[in-house]
């Protein structure tokens, strides 16, 4: 029994390209007139193309395109793919039918969240999982013993998020009949002018919206068709700044913002689903899954933290501000915060130490520092725990989706 020898050919010049270009780059680059790029998972990605507030209002009133291609994607395939995924995530994947998408979190042995993402089920034995962080070693180890393969397909799939009240109308104009019957989290495979398109009614904006997935070679053709069909609807590209505003209004948590992914957290600084307002994601009845024992123990002993949606007095608010009980006792901090132009209130997610935010919800305050021309002021803003999402328009769920 000798060790197998494998030779992996690496591209020796890979380091010359520090950030790669997305399949849509040829169209995005001229639009990014301020060269406002950041790196996202090794790709160039736009913070804003022109101005984030214009993009934000386009999202809430017209429609926007957001380049999703750098999103990390894994294909799970094979007769054991369902069981394998079910072992990884906390919800019951068996209940997810082909043609549906689900939101999921997954944990390590300690019950701390490694990441969250969406699972696309194309068929009985075919899944795709989209997320922020890279997890291939964890998924490969999790797949041992299951009749399933795991492959990273990030580079094999280009994606666009078409979001906003006009998004369904634009797809109608492209002649995609399936739009009429697609409910939220539905997933279809269609053909558009000869190329294959995967279309899901999903998004990260809390609005009516779709995500469109194609082979990288078809990316520019998809972009051009959408921009033509969307011209009359004010369709425009959107960057990450506006998306981040929309996702907070939509009540979505972000890895590295609302929690430190457990694989990067030292000294028990991970967070369990119970500490991230994801209780409903945990299905103890489904059988074994990663973190189950730790989460059962945590449920019995009580969690240490809680993530709560807050509304705050005033309009000046900053993420990272400390939260207090009775203006005295420090109880946590704001993970995300903004003035919401749509809700017309200051909104935030706060990570608090229980029982604050859990059973003790009155007399909560947030300390905000504001600078006015080099002079710092400190104000205590009253905070109220509210429900999620902050923004929940009926158009998000209406089926068939509204036309404009």
């Amino acid at each position: 029994m000798s060790a197998p020898t494998t030779t992996i050919q690496y591209d020796k010049d890979h380091w010359r390209t520090t950030l790669r270009e997305s399949p849509f780059h040829a169209r995005l680059a001229p639009l990014n007139i301020r060269h406002n790029w950041i790196g996202w998972a090794g790709y160039l990605s736009a913070n804003a193309y022109y101005e984030e507030s214009i993009e934000y209002f386009a999202l809430r009133n017209q429609a926007t395109l957001y380049d999703l291609s750098p999103m990390i994607k894994y294909a799970f395939r094979g007769p054991g793919a369902e069981a394998c995924l079910n072992r990884i995530v906390t919800r019951d994947v068996r209940k997810q039918k082909p043609g549906r998408v689900s939101y999921s979190v997954w944990c390590n042995d300690a019950g701390h969240v490694l990441d969250d993402g969406t699972i696309f089920r194309f068929g009985p034995e075919e899944f795709r999982l989209c997320c922020q962080e890279r997890h291939l070693p964890w998924f490969l180890d999790s797949a041992q013993g299951f009749d399933a393969t795991v492959e990273e397909v990030t580079d094999q799939v280009a994606g666009l998020a078409l979001q906003g009240p006009c998004s369904a109308a634009i797809l109608r104009r492209l002649g995609i009949a399936e739009v009429e019957r697609m409910k939220p989290f539905d997933l279809v495979r269609v053909t558009l002018d000869g190329f294959a398109l995967e279309l899901s009614r999903t998004g990260f904006t809390g609005d009516l919206g779709y995500e469109l997935w194609v082979a990288p070679g078809d990316a520019l053709a998809l972009w051009d068709r959408l921009m033509v069909a969307g011209a009359d609807y004010g369709l425009r590209p959107m960057g990450s700044n506006a998306l981040n505003m929309a996702r907070l209004e939509g009540g979505f948590i972000m890895p590295k913002v609302e929690f430190v992914p457990a694989a990067q957290a030292l000294r028990q600084r991970g967070r369990s689903p119970f500490e991230l307002a994801q209780e409903r994601q945990v299905d103890f009845a489904k059988g074994p899954f990663n973190g189950r024992r730790a989460l059962l123990a945590e449920q019995a002993a009580g969690s240490r933290h809680i993530l709560v949606p807050l509304e705050l007095e005033g309009h000046k608010i900053v993420a990272g501000s400390l939260a207090y009980h009775r203006q005295k006792k420090e109880i946590g901090f704001l993970t995300s915060a903004m003035w919401s132009p749509t809700v017309k209130r200051a909104i935030a997610f706060a990570s608090l130490k229980r029982p604050y935010g859990d059973t003790v919800k009155d007399d909560l305050w947030v300390e905000v520092y504001v600078q006015k021309e080099l002079k710092w002021d400190k104000v205590m803003a009253k905070a109220t725990v509210v429900g999620r999402p902050f923004f929940d328009p009926p158009r998000k769920k209406a089926t068939p989706p509204g036309d404009i």
């Binding site: 000798s2 069981a83 990884i88 390590n108 013993g145 074994p288 189950r292």
Partner: protein
């Protein structure tokens, strides 16, 4: 399911029998399942040319007195032919060094004095570690008062060594064996003989870091009066017979030729086993004495344990490097008969020889100059010089994964071993009537031990105490309700001490599982 038990013990090696005996004595309805036809595993018997010979271990090292007393093994037939067998090491020039209870002879007075001092010191250090062996290892963090008390006691027992000795302990505890041997001795043969006992069965060469800890770990088994190098009357298999008799007398049921295919469990708890033949047997708890990799990765269905736990188990290092050669002989040369009747024989050269053989073995090649331990149990156990004899040899370092294939490697090692015997005792190979060589991979196949590693996981610091076999299962309890780990892969495993099985049974009883 027709039959149902309180506890099923998987594996009929010495630890399985010890656990079954203790559980049955405590009133648990206990069933022990052994995959092969014979009990004992690597401490049992096998047939060579129709003769029953020890399958693996030919000596008992530090069987713990608590086990002997607790199971009343003397009443069940355990008696020793020798409790502290002398060892004679020969180098190729024929020079001999003898090590026994009185010390070293055949070496310079300086070396003899140095060994007397070092042995005392090592035993003192080992004694400070010894209390850790008798129960579950204490947790370093997040433990209860019991853990803190045990750690405090460990700290105190190290402190009681005195300032200078404690400093010396901390200096050498993670050293390699060659460093302290070269510091203290001039005699190459003596150094090689001491390194042999320090490192036998490990994936450590004289210059590998951690050799001293492996040595201390082994020596700590001697605290409390355990026989250091013992040969039971009737050989090691007689210990197995006594353990089986004790377990049966206590009411345990024992089934051989009953290989377990799978452990039945849901997300929370085990419920029984399925045998390879399809038979299902229910049990409230299962105490597994197979090695941790097999226990967790083969017996349990996928997904029952968490990915991080399985990953840690997959990374347990278990690389055996000892080949076992058994020979039957008719008319042995008189020199061998007289040396074999004295005790254990080592055929060695130097530390460098061992280091070089390890180098070859770790890359999958048979070494150029093997080291050998030879025992003639038939002579030591009241046998007559004229009758047929069994020669039991441990050869190291043998490759865990032979590059040239098993057959070629077996032949290369056997040829070299016979040449080694003939060089020291001319005419030996001519007297051989039957022979059988087992490489580590043969031990793995016959006894189901990963890597052919005797110790079910190497005895290096990252796999000892609260880290054995992995942190999340270090106190005999698997992270699955009702599943216990009691083989040599559990603390304080390795060697033939009986303690892992004994302690695991105690953990199960403590949980009222």
């Amino acid at each position: 399911m027709a039959n149902s038990y309180d506890v099923i013990v998987i594996g009929g090696g010495h630890n399985g029998l010890v656990a079954a005996g203790r559980l049955a004595k405590a009133g648990r309805k206990t069933l022990l399942l052994e995959a092969s036809e014979r009990l004992g595993g690597m401490a049992g018997t096998r047939l060579l040319d129709g003769v029953a010979i020890p399958a693996g271990a030919h000596l008992v090292y530090a069987l713990h007195p608590a086990v002997e007393r607790g199971l009343d093994l003397a009443r069940h037939g355990l008696a020793y032919a020798h409790r502290h067998l002398p060892t004679t090491a020969f180098d190729p020039a024929g020079r001999a060094v003898t090590l026994d209870a009185k010390g070293a002879t055949g070496v310079s007075p300086a070396d003899a004095a140095a060994w007397a001092a070092l042995e005392q010191r090592l035993l003192r250090f080992a004694g400070a570690l010894a209390p850790l062996r008798e129960k579950a290892p204490p947790l370093l963090v997040d433990g209860g008062w019991g853990d803190r008390w045990a750690l405090l006691k460990l700290g105190l027992s190290l402190k009681r060594l005195g300032k200078a000795e404690m400093r010396e302990f901390l200096r050498i505890v993670l050293l390699n064996a060659a460093d302290i041997l070269n510091d203290g001795f001039e005699d190459e043969l003596l150094k090689a003989a001491l390194a042999w006992d320090a490192l036998l069965g490990t994936h450590l060469a004289p210059r590998s870091p951690g050799g001293v800890l492996a040595w201390l770990y082994r020596l700590s088994g001697r605290a409390g009066g355990a026989a250091p190098l013992a040969l039971p009357k009737g050989g090691v298999p007689a210990l197995i017979a006594a353990l089986a008799a004790a377990a049966k007398a206590a009411g345990a049921e024992i089934r051989t030729a009953a290989p377990v295919a799978r452990v039945l469990a849901d997300a929370d708890k085990v419920s029984g086993v399925v045998l390879a033949g399809g038979e299902e047997i229910a049990a409230k708890a299962i105490l597994c004495t197979t090695d941790p990799k097999r226990t967790f990765l083969e017996f349990l269905g996928p997904g029952l344990l968490d990915t991080g736990f399985e990953r840690a188990v997959r990374h347990i290092r278990a690389r055996g490097h000892v080949a076992k050669l058994d020979l039957l002989a008719d008319a042995l040369p008189p020199a061998l008969l007289s040396a074999g009747a004295q005790g254990r024989i080592l055929l060695l050269e130097s530390l460098n020889q061992l280091e070089e053989s390890f180098d070859a073995a770790k890359y999958g090649d048979p070494p150029a100059r093997l080291g050998a331990e030879l025992l003639v149990p038939t002579l030591l156990d009241g046998g007559e010089a004229g009758a047929w004899q069994h020669l039991s040899l441990l050869l190291t370092y043998a490759p865990t994964a032979p590059r040239a294939g098993a057959a070629a490697t077996r032949e290369a090692i056997q040829t070299q071993a016979l040449a080694l015997l003939d060089a020291r005792f001319p005419g030996t190979s001519a007297a051989i009537t039957a022979s059988s060589l087992q490489l580590p991979e043969d031990l793995a196949a016959t006894h189901g031990v990963t890597g052919g590693d005797w110790h079910h996981g190497e005895t290096t610091i990252e796999q000892l105490f609260v880290l054995r076999p992995v942190p999340a299962a270090s106190r005999y309890r698997a992270p699955l309700g009702g599943l216990y780990l009691g083989g040599a892969g559990a603390h304080p495993g390795g060697h033939v001490t009986g303690l892992p099985g004994w302690n695991a049974a105690a953990a199960l009883l403590e949980d009222k599982a």
